[in-house]
Symmetry: C2
Subunit: 503 residues, 2 copies
């Protein structure tokens, strides 16, 4: 291969998100000898580390012709400190893209193809444009059960895998789409208080205003190393960690970023994302909650049934016991939508506050009960009573606090600086919540990036309200975001509908 003399590294301090960019002067000898243009994909080599990056050409003194400047993601990936020199050459074409093209043309993805794709994604070889094409190729119901299994296996195989040396390792997951449905921390606390092992790892939000990891981060540290995670579980029987920080199914977080930008969350990739994390985390028994409702992510029982089939079959092929529970997805759960607001609901349930949201409590108790039965802790049918008992006695709360303390300490829940109440425009009965609109409202207000942002529901379906009564409260930490949310609300009056009475 052609060798150039190397360029001096420069840190520009530009955060281009996960994209790895190298900025080169138009007059640089490497640019000229290699014929680089903006968007060329190149291989940057320090002699110790090498990465694939995209070129941006600069036309003034920002970068000299003897320098190679890097975006923050590229700088970190190369492990640079400053003072190094790097060699830059053309990157080889990403061969696994031929599998993506073949899939777009109606071909099938087998395990070797998936492994090549997922390995290349994990090692940063895919540009955002290529990632988006892969996500689009696999979206909707385009992946068969065999392809879903192949993708799941490959996502497991490129990451780390934890072993617990336990016959029963419990896990639960909610496919999402129902704002505020944050049962997981409560279920973990109950199940662990009953002596079961539940090393829970969660994702951050994809298209929702909060994922369990976003919400738990309000209460404690969730970025645990694998060692720290094992220490927490050894001590408390459970943890509540962010999956990405322990390198379980690492390609998943890269794919999730693109799904978020596209507001797409496909069936096959959903199954692969969920089950790859479970298997890599060493789980043996997984309970999956699928909320079904007209404005939830899963809208019909037919759709839920297809998803259940894919989850159970893929799980079985991977040696995982999967139980699916389909729940009511007609309205948000609890009062809060957004990390901090949801964290407040969770604590109030665990503390048995009289004001705790009953629906969140009931759902968590029911799911925990199913898990206790699944694990054989109680006889079939006796799970709910046992779960109720552990919650009422305060054992679940104590277990939750112990987990948070072991993970790095319980944090104070922060409060938002801006609040605006949305009022009923007439008297009547609350007849409809649009989950999607409420979720988008919370996102526009800043959730999940702003922890305190979101929507706080002040009424429930079927409540009688008076004209001018607050229906929900928008929380934001930036004036611009609040204005943006209000702007959206003005155009989407069906977030919460009140059917007027004839007086």
């Amino acid at each position: 291969m052609y060798k150039n003399k190397g360029l001096e590294v420069l840190r520009l301090g530009i955060d281009s998100h996960q994209e790895r960019i190298v900025y080169l002067n138009a007059d640089c000898h490497v640019v000229q000898s290699e014929g680089f243009t903006s968007h060329s994909r190149v291989c940057v080599d320090t002699g110790i580390e090498s990465i694939i990056a995209s070129v941006n050409i600069t036309h003034n003194g920002l970068v000299t012709s003897d320098q190679a400047a890097f975006s923050e993601a590229a700088w970190r990936a190369l492990g640079l400190k400053g003072g190094e020199r790097v060699m830059i050459k053309h990157a080889k074409p990403v061969n696994s893209m031929s599998h993506v093209r073949s899939k777009l043309y109606g071909g099938k993805l087998d395990y070797p193809a998936c492994l090549e794709i997922v390995s290349d994604i994990q090692s940063g070889q895919y540009s955002d444009i290529q990632l988006s094409s892969f996500v689009s190729a696999c979206t909707a119901d385009r992946l068969s059960n065999e392809e879903t299994l192949a993708l799941t296996r490959s996502m497991i195989d490129v990451g780390e895998r934890i072993s617990w040396d336990q016959p029963l390792v419990m896990d639960k997951h909610c496919v999402g789409g129902l704002p505020g449905n944050r049962t997981t921390p409560i279920v973990v606390a109950i199940v662990a208080a009953c002596g079961l092992i539940m090393p829970k790892t969660s994702s951050r939000a994809i298209t929702s205003p909060a994922g369990t990891a976003d919400t738990m981060e309000v209460l404690t540290n969730v970025e645990l190393t694998q060692e720290k995670m094992q220490q927490v579980v050894a001590q408390e029987g459970a943890c509540l960690a962010w999956g990405g920080s322990v390198s379980l199914s690492p390609a998943d977080d890269i794919i999730i970023r693109i799904e978020r930008a596209l507001n797409l969350d496909s069936e096959g990739q959903l199954v692969a994302s969920v089950l790859s994390k479970k298997v890599a985390a060493g789980s043996t028994h997984v309970l999956i909650d699928i909320p079904v409702g007209p404005t939830a992510k899963v809208r019909s029982f037919e759709q839920a049934r297809k998803l259940e089939d894919k989850l159970v079959k893929t799980g079985k092929a991977l040696g995982l016991e999967v139980l699916v529970h389909r729940s009511d997805g007609s309205q948000p759960v609890g009062r809060g939508i957004g990390p901090a607001l949801e964290a407040r609901d969770i604590l109030s349930v665990l503390k048995n506050h009289s004001s705790a949201p009953v629906d969140l409590r009931d759902r968590a108790v029911y799911l925990a009960g199913l898990m206790l039965e699944m694990a054989g802790v109680v006889d079939s049918g006796a799970g709910v009573l046992k779960a109720q008992e552990v919650l009422d006695s305060g054992e679940a709360y104590q277990k939750f606090i112990a987990i948070c303390e072991t993970q790095g300490g319980l944090k104070e829940i922060p409060k938002s600086s801006h609040q605006v109440d949305h009022l009923a425009s007439c008297s009547g009965i609350v007849t409809h919540f649009n989950n999607r609109c409420l979720a988008q409202l919370a996102r526009l207000a800043g959730a999940p990036n702003s922890k305190v942002a979101g929507v706080e529901l002040l009424v429930r379906l079927g409540d009688r309200v008076e004209k001018g009564q607050p229906l929900f409260r928008i929380h934001a930490n930036a004036k611009g975001e609040m204005e943006y949310a209000l702007d959206f609300l003005a155009q989407h009056s069906d977030c919460c509908q009140v059917s007027g009475e004839t007086v």
Copy 2:
């Protein structure tokens, strides 16, 4: 809407290709009040122009907290000169992406949906990630005839449209996939020499080493304004211009950039791309050449037939007469693959050099003959003879030179600085050319960005060669690119196969 005080503009001189990026300091008040992070999509407003851009956050003194710095594409789109102040707020979600998602989920794209998508693409509202999803959603045969027509119409309707006040306006197009098949300039010269009107606009290369616009740019200026184009056609009856410079179907060039990055070129988008440019250019009669061969873009007659059907039907619905010719796509045409090498072949045919490639000449004459018959200049069956006559007499050459002179002058064809010959490893007969490998070889050598780069074929199918005899010559203008091409060649010995004789 929330108003901020505005930020001073700064030109960083970073060329991020077509992507519009605004670089903001992490401490900037707008970043904090609006809650921007890297990859936020924002609206930047100068008071006169406004654009959608992606945010990159900077963490040092590169950009001060009172400044907004811009990539070159963003700077140009805003028409900045320096000294202006801009307002920045969250961009509204791109509503037309819901149509892209719906298409991915199996829905159909109608005209209003296509128009929304194409308008948003043209006005720069789509990020690269969103563009890639749209291209992937429409790839392969995913667009029905109705959808293809809707997409074509919308691509016409967002751009300019030329009217010629002529009953017959001729055009031709090759769907590509056959390296070196550069008949268009010769056909235009012959047809125009016969007195027909042929205002030819061409694209740059998508996935090939050269498009007609890339090749013509070696010989003359192809970036004509619409006024200049009309002046050239009024004077010479024809022109050979780059389509993008006259704003005909402007969304096409944005889409093409993404197709190139993905190495994807889909059927529906191909039809929309070709026919939208033809209708916008005011053509009435279009001849379309589809080379068919095992390693051409179209590999089977079945595939060619489907494409023909889509082209003819869509053309008819748009009031365009479309004639499709299926040609032999088994080996490259002419000797050169790459802009300058192909330009050399074209001139040698037009000048009736004894060494001119016969296959290129024959194809051009045949296609020109079909056009003369289609236009009624000669009777059916007499086209080829007439075309031959005009070429032999030098009238076609004179017409070609006149067109180049009127467009801005005939240029000298540049020569490459690096050449390497690839030799036959045994004696025998040349039995196979792999068009795809040869095209990729030419691209790796630098074509089309480097005009002189490419591959020069020294033998044809069926030729008898001796061991050590040169089969083809690689041309490059950068040592790195030559090494890269040779590296690829070492792994792809089937670019040109010689079947050895038993001596």
